[in-house]
């Protein structure tokens, strides 16, 4: 069933979103010192966290759309695909 499959996919996306978002807080905090690369490495780790947050958020949003599409498919008889395009654009 496509509807239940979309719900499953939505749930999977939600889990992935949570997992990646939890990883988006870098554990490496560079010590301060004479080496300027320490501060750069620290900033890089923070920036990676931002990008990972963006990826997690994107997957989470997609998951919500898939789940919504699944609900709409289940609620309609004909499953007119034109109704669902907005969900995935």
């Amino acid at each position: 069933m496509l509807a239940s499959g979309l719900h499953q996919l939505g749930t999977k996306c939600e889990k992935i979103n949570g997992e990646l978002a939890a990883d988006a807080v870098p554990s490496c905090v560079a010590p301060s010192g004479w080496a300027s690369s320490a501060a750069t490495a620290n900033m890089a780790a923070v920036a990676v966290g931002k990008d990972l947050t963006a990826i997690a958020g994107r997957i989470g949003t997609r998951g919500a759309h898939y789940a919504k599409a699944g609900t709409m498919y289940a609620d309609t008889d004909d499953g007119s695909p034109g109704r669902f395009r907005g969900l995935v654009d």
Binding site: L6, L9, P31, T40, A45, A47, V48, D51, I59, R83
Partner: protein, 205 residues
């Protein structure tokens, strides 16, 4: 001999130096990069057949295309994580090796009976009996100090080069954004909009 140049670490700072932050950064990147890549690749495949049933029609086409575009958008960023992780391992090794070379030069001076000061100048711990011996000890002190400073200078120069390289390699990090299909103006096939059929081409990245 003059003190250490500005911006150089003192000997005690160098002793306390720890370049493990590169290893920590590499650990982090090596942990998250394959995970994020695998998930995005997996989802780009899963969306084709949610629950094992092919998702046909325009909604399915759009979802499949969008999942693929998300992967294409994020991939260069994630690949750059891999590059920096590999480089970070090398940089840590290189800087640790440079630090040990300095310590080696310091050990040589100490074995010769000189005390190495915090600014890499050296002081003789022995008393010379003759003028000639004194002159030789002064020359030896200058030679040791110069060699130690040469190695510190090399280390500082390498650290600076590595820092610049890291800045360049990570300059685009933290800016990842995903755009909708409408915003990117992309489509892999004909899309029917009202009564018109538009043929849009995949955007070249």
């Amino acid at each position: 001999m003059a003190g250490a140049p500005e911006g150089w670490p003192t000997l005690s700072h160098l002793v306390a130096s720890d370049f493990s932050y590169f290893g920590q950064l590499a650990d982090y990147l090596e942990r998250i990069s394959p995970k994020a890549q695998n998930y995005l690749e997996q989802l780009a495949e899963d969306v084709k057949r949610p629950g094992g049933v092919e998702w046909e029609g325009q909604a399915g086409d759009a979802a499949i295309e969008q999942a693929g575009l998300d992967l294409v958008t994020a991939r260069p960023v994630m690949w750059s994580w891999d590059d920096v992780a590999a480089s970070s391992r090398r940089w840590q090794d290189e800087l640790e090796a440079g630090k040990h070379l300095v310590f080696g030069a310091v050990d040589d001076a100490q074995r010769d009976g000189f005390q190495v000061n915090d600014d890499y100048s050296v002081s003789d711990t022995r008393t010379s009996e003759t003028e000639a011996e004194f002159k030789a000890r002064v020359e030896a002190a200058e030679a040791h100090s110069s060699f130690i400073r040469y190695r510190v200078g090399t280390l500082v120069g390498n650290e600076s080069r590595i820092n610049t390289t890291l800045q360049v390699m990570t300059s685009e990090w933290g800016k990842l954004t995903f755009r909708s299909r409408a915003a990117t103006g992309t489509c892999t096939r004909s899309m029917t909009t009202g009564n018109k059929t538009q043929h849009l081409h995949r955007r070249t990245r």
